[in-house]
Structures are given as structure tokens and as C-alpha cells.
């Protein structure tokens, strides 16, 4: 609950260093990582490397931000990894041209159409999750766990397990420019990073400056109270899963554009990394606490760590060990740091569960 303060002051949020420090752990963890690796390797702290690492982070960052929205409402979305994979494959499928037997024609949608359709697919997957959770009261963990398998299976079925290559498109068909997302740079900044930045800023605005944001936080904090205050709780829940789906689809697009190929197994187990990012970023899995800045920090911590380990040539095995340790430490650090509040927060658990289960 590091974000007590930051969430509490949502509206008055900004690049306020004081509060940034309050967010604590994620921030310090990142600094520590950058310093350590810069000492260990001269190339680590170079613009080009920072940019490369950022473009790796972009993928997880997008997933994490979507995940944050879901977690803020007290849910969880295990299907983002599979959605990423399916989205990539779907895009690849469209780039190869869609043939309508009936008319015997093959349609090659232009890239922007592909992008829109893919995001729509992500939204659809999210909507299914959301409806299961909000209307059929299926626990989020289960609903999205099921979707994790289904989406992955569908992706495999679509390509029969194979990978779509050369998504470059063909000038003759007017569907070129797909690799744009992955290769282009604006002011030397990779597109993926820009996409992440854009999404992050939009979410920040949405969470801090719009009624929707307030609805999300209140739904996560106490959905019954929110409902009685006129918050459309069910629709909010569906919305966050939809957004998470769209973010995953975007990540899928960026990734397959970077690889100029789309494989059905892409993104396996990314959901765990995404969740780790959100949690390191100080969000509470119980909902209602957390913010975009923290989540971004979390995503960068993980990304910069794993890339750093590769750069200084640590064995793949040690990489796994370190990642795990850092995840725990980052969160541990916080819970110690704030253990002073224990007493004060002790009552709340007792209050809520008891409260909610009182009938009448």
C-alpha cells in the first residue's frame, strides 16, 4: 500500500519528486539496478542501450498498464499473454490477405485496418472476460485462466502451429508499412516506446482526471458502496478487461512488427511478468490502490534487470534466480518500510469481510 498517499492524492498528481520518493521501492530499485549495471558494464548506460532496453520494456509495459486497470478494480487478467500471441497471429493472418471463397477474391486490408481489427479482437477477448466476471460472477482468476488456454489454442489452430513470416506486406497490394511500428523511430525513439508512452499518458489522464478513473478506484475499493453512489460497477469492470485486452493486442502488434513475424506461442507466461510489474509498482492485488507511474517503474525494473543480466553475460539460470529475488525484495522492502501502519490497517480486514458477509 505504498501508494496510499499517491492514490489518495490522485487528482493533485504530477511530477512531484517528493511523492515520487514516497512511491519508494520501485523507484529506488530502478536506480539501484541502473547504477549497479553501469558499473559492471560500460555499454549499459548508453543512450542506444537504454533505448533498446526500453523497446523491450514496451511490450511488458503495455501488458502491465492493462493489467493495472484490471487489478485496480480488484480483478486479475491471466489471459494477456495468450491475447498477445493471438493478436500477433491474427494480424499476420490479415496481412497474408483474407480470401472470400464465395466471391473468389482475396482482400489485402491496409495496415491501419489490420491494426484496428486486431485491437478490436483484443477488445472482444477482454469483453468476454469482463462479462464472465461482472455478470456471471466467475472469479476473475478462473475466467481469465480459462481464456488463457482458449486464446492460446485458437492462435495455434489459426496458424496450425506455424509462424507467419515477412509481414512486410507488398507495395503492389498497398498493405506495406507493418514493420513501421517495430522499426521506425521518431526523434531516435523506437515506435514501441512511443506507443507505450502514449498509452501510459492516456491511462494516467483517464485514471486521475476523468469520472471513469474515479469509478475504477471506487469499484476496487468497495464495489457495493460504489454501486450505491451511482457508479456503473458492472460496466466499469467490463471496460477494464476490454482495455486490458486492447493493450495486449497493441503489445502483440508491436512485438510481431519488431520480429516481422507472428508466432502462435509468443507471449507465453508474459502475464506473470506483467503482474509482477504492477505489484512491484506498488499496486495492491486487492484493488483500489496503485497508479500508472508506479506500474511503469515496475515494468522498467524487470526489463532493465533481465537485459542487464544478459549484457554482463550472467548465465540464463542466474537470470531466473535474480528476477525472482528482485520481485520479492522490491515488495518486501515496501511492506517493511510501511510496517509502521500495520496496527492502523489491522482493523480494516476485520471490518470488510465481516461487513460484506452480513446478510440483510
Amino acid at each position: 500500500m505504498s501508494n496510499n498517499n499517491s492514490t489518495a492524492h490522485q487528482p493533485s498528481q504530477g511530477l512531484d519528486l517528493g511523492r515520487l520518493l514516497l512511491e519508494g521501492r520501485a523507484f529506488f530499485a530502478l536506480i539501484a539496478i541502473i547504477v549497479i549495471f553501469s558499473l559492471l558494464s560500460p555499454v549499459y548506460f548508453t543512450t542506444s542501450n537504454l533505448l533498446t532496453m526500453s523497446s523491450h520494456v514496451a511490450i511488458f509495459g503495455l501488458l502491465s498498464i492493462g493489467m493495472l486497470l484490471v487489478i485496480l478494480t480488484g480483478g486479475i487478467d491471466l489471459s494477456v499473454g495468450s491475447t498477445l500471441g493471438l493478436a500477433g497471429v491474427f494480424a499476420g493472418f490479415l496481412m497474408q490477405g483474407v480470401s472470400f471463397e464465395v466471391f473468389g477474391v482475396v482482400v489485402y486490408p491496409p495496415v491501419w485496418v489490420v491494426i484496428i481489427l486486431t485491437c478490436a479482437l483484443g477488445a472482444f477477448i477482454g469483453a468476454v472476460n469482463g462479462v464472465l466476471v461482472a455478470f456471471f460472477k466467475v472469479p476473475a482468476f478462473v475466467a481469465t485462466l480459462g481464456m488463457l488456454y482458449v486464446a492460446r489454442g485458437v492462435a495455434l489452430l489459426m496458424t496450425d502451429g506455424l509462424t507467419y513470416n515477412n509481414l512486410g506486406g507488398d507495395p503492389a497490394l498497398g498493405n506495406t508499412g507493418f514493420e513501421w511500428l517495430g522499426f521506425n523511430r521518431l526523434f531516435g525513439i523506437p515506435m514501441g516506446v512511443l506507443v507505450l508512452a502514449a498509452v501510459a499518458i492516456l491511462c494516467m489522464l483517464a485514471l486521475n482526471r476523468t469520472p471513469f478513473g474515479r469509478w475504477v478506484y471506487s469499484t476496487g475499493g468497495n464495489d457495493r458502496a460504489a454501486e450505491l453512489s451511482g457508479v456503473p460497477v458492472k460496466r466499469v469492470k467490463v471496460a477494464v478487461y476490454v482495455l486490458s485486452g486492447v493493450c495486449a493486442a497493441l503489445a502483440g502488434l508491436v512485438l510481431s512488427s519488431q520480429l516481422t513475424s507472428a508466432g502462435p506461442t509468443a507471449g507465453t507466461t508474459y502475464e506473470l511478468t506483467a503482474i509482477a510489474g504492477v505489484v512491484i509498482g506498488g499496486a495492491a492485488l486487492t484493488g483500489g490502490r496503485g497508479n500508472v507511474r508506479g506500474t511503469l517503474l515496475g515494468a522498467f525494473v524487470i526489463g532493465f534487470l533481465s537485459d542487464g543480466l544478459v549484457i554482463i553475460g550472467v548465465s540464463a539460470y542466474w537470470q531466473t534466480v535474480f528476477t525472482g529475488t528482485v520481485i520479492v525484495l522490491a515488495v518486501l522492502l515496501n511492506s517493511i518500510q510501511y510496517s509502521g501502519r500495520k496496527t492502523k490497517q489491522a482493523p480494516s480486514p476485520s471490518a470488510s469481510p465481516q461487513a460484506v458477509t452480513n446478510p440483510s
Binding site: 533498446t52 496450425d160 509462424t163 522499426f183 512485438l255 519488431q258 520480429l259 513475424s261 508466432g263 540464463a316
Partner: protein, 277 residues
Amino acid sequence: QDEGLISIIVNDASNPYWFTEGEVARTTAEELGYRANVSSHVGDTNTESNQVDTAITNQAKAIILDPANADGSIGAVRRAVDAGIPVFIVNAEINQQGLAKAQFVSNNAQGAALGAQQWIESIGDGARYVELKGAPSDNNAATRSNGYETVLSQYPDLTKVGEDVANWDRTQGYNRMQNMLQANPDIQGVISGNDEMALGAIAALKSADRLDDVVVGGFDGSPDAVDAVKAGDMAYTVLQPVAIFAEEAVRVADRYITTGETGLDSEKQLFDPRFIE
């Protein structure tokens, strides 16, 4: 006519190489009049052993198995053999003779050696390079890496400046390559344990547009790689005669089922790889 069932167990059908393996085996089996049933264990020995069990349950006439692990798969094979089902190993070997009726393995060590030589031809005998390795749990990763090593170590001017595990996977190949490019911007070559990782590396080199001055070598000869070689992105790839030995395995299995004889001189049949460049 129904000659019975042949269970085909491959590693990971979502990898073009093993996909071909499975498909060829199935088509061959079907044209020989068998029912075929392809499943993939994705390198997990437990999944593999479950699939062997199901094959036993299904009273398969024979099992065509691409083992998940040279050691780890022995238990499963033994169980099948105990149940009286002939097992024919393809692609990778198991470290125990006399269990399987026959092992049709591509000669990974030799393939690696070939690859390494080809790679040197295209890059010259003095260069700085990095290596991408496959999943450690799969002993082909070690075999190939050693194969490279034996050849390349003979050229003192070749310096390996980095290596990393990318688990046969394209995305990881991409990320790892980007990182290693950062660590050593001046490399002239990449030698990869399989095509998927090589293709990932190529994507990374493209985005850093270094592809022109870096030589990338693959392994497996998967269709994607062949395209890449044609396009000039990849220097070469070592074609594992997967289609050939997959078919051969089924035909031998058929012979064994009908005649009770494999008609082979030795259990282990090595298939020599060739290039595509």
C-alpha cells in the same frame, strides 16, 4: 483398410521443423493404410510419458517418437517396450541401446561441424562472433554447441565475445541479440543453434540495420529459414533431412509390423545433413 494405429509423438508442433516431421510421418503412415495420431510433448518428459501411456492404451501398432530428452525419455520408451509396442526413435537419440527397434537420428554433431565450416567460409577465419544456444534441457543444444566449438576452436583468430540461451525461440533470439549487440557492437558473426533463434537475431540486426555486415548461420533448414537464405538475410542453414528420416521411420515401422523384421543392419541410423546456401 485399417492396419491399426501408429502414434507419432513429436517435440513441438508449433516449430516448423518438428511440424514437418509430424506431418510427413502422418501422411506416410496414412498412405500405408494406418491411422495416425500426432501429438507433441513440447520438451516436457512428463507430457511425453503420458502420451506414450495413451499410445499403449490405444494399442498402437507402433510408436514414432522424437524424444524430449536423451535420458529423460528412456523410462517412457521402456514402458512402451514392456507393453510390447515397438518404438522407433526419430531426430534425436536416447542414451540407451537395445530398447527402441531403431533410431533414425540426424547427425547433429556432424551437422554442426558442417555448419561451422560453412560459416567460416562466409565470414573468414578471423572474426568476433556470438552464439545463440537452444534449451539446455534438450541435449541437441549441447551437441550442436560442441560441434561448433570443435571446429571453430581450430581458428585462433575467431573470438567468441558472447553466448546466451534463447531456448530455440524467435522472440528470445531477438531480445538476446539486441542485448549482445549492445554489449559488443563490433561483432561480425552470429552462429545459432537453430533457425528460429537465427531468424530472431536477423530481425534484431535488421532493426539495428547491421544485417549487411553480420553473418548469421542457422540450423534445421526450416522453410522460413530457407526463404531467409534465398532473401540473402541468412548466410546458410543446415538442412536436417527431417522429411526423409521421418518417412523412413514409418516405412521401417511398417516393415517391422508386417514382417517382424526391421531389416536394418544396426539400431542407430545416422542421416547426414546438407546445406542450403
